[in-house]
Amino acid sequence: MAEVIFFIAAIGAIAGAVGTVALRNPFYSVLALVCHLLALAALFLLLRAEFVAAAQVVVYAGAVMVLYVFVVAYVGGSGEPLTASTGATLRFASLIFALALFAELTIALVGTSLSALNSDGAPYESGFGSPAEVGELFLTKFLLAFELASLLLLIAAVGAVILARRRTGLGDPREISVADVMRVTASDAPPETMLEAGGPPHR
């Protein structure tokens, strides 16, 4: 049974990965990556990593991919031609490189003669991979990494806001920002002094 689920999930993951790379429309690429992530979550479940699988589905396939979909919808998923005008040889070379990398990685992994490679792994203990275990490890052994990760998330959020904010002078003139609205209402307000009203009309 585990073998059947493994092969279904593995084929789903690989198909999703191929779709991410090969589909022309970035929107479809994002959807293929969502399929890939869901299949990968099934593989994590087979490896008894329940919390990682749940985090994968909720955080990755949920939150991060929604962010991607929003940006693709904003930027506009224009179908890019896969073959560049100049990059046909480069594309061929990169395919060769990817294949060579796969061969090398497989030889390196299979040839390591690790004792666990052909076993079914350590005996399963109840509680392995559960949220309680993960939380305990995060708050005891990996406390520093946990805190640094939260700090990094804060920095990334602030950086993303600063990078994507609307700069004056570069925005679309057709768009209306809050500053424009403020300026318009300020100039429409009745002048309070004669100087603001333009001064005396004669002279």
Binding site: A17, V18, F44, A63, L95, F102
Partner: protein
């Protein structure tokens, strides 16, 4: 299932991601391919964690997910900034830093 199968799947996904980074020109898709590579590494980490019966690999995978989320936030912010400045969304056109 023996660990070898998981590692081979992980290597295959990693190579698909690496090839995608080299082939595609849209920075959005390049970010997606980087996600693929990170996920392949996650699969290998979780597989090793299972084989050793040690949870450390899963913690590592979770931290990798955090890093990936940060990278996505910054990368998408850069792409939105590019779009705002009317620059082409194409890494072949964006080569000011190349010298």
């Amino acid at each position: 299932m023996s660990l070898t199968w998981y590692l081979v799947v992980s290597a295959l996904i990693f190579c698909i991601g690496a090839g995608g980074v080299l082939v595609r020109r849209n920075p959005l898709v390049i970010l997606l391919c980087i996600e693929l590579m990170l996920n392949a590494a996650n699969l290998a980490l979780v597989g090793f964690s299972r084989m050793h019966g040690n949870m450390d690999g899963q913690i590592f995978a979770l931290i990798v997910m955090v890093i990936a989320a940060c990278e996505v936030a910054i990368g998408l912010g850069l792409i939105v900034a590019l779009y705002r400045r009317r620059l082409p969304i194409d890494v072949d056109e964006l080569r000011e830093l190349q010298g």
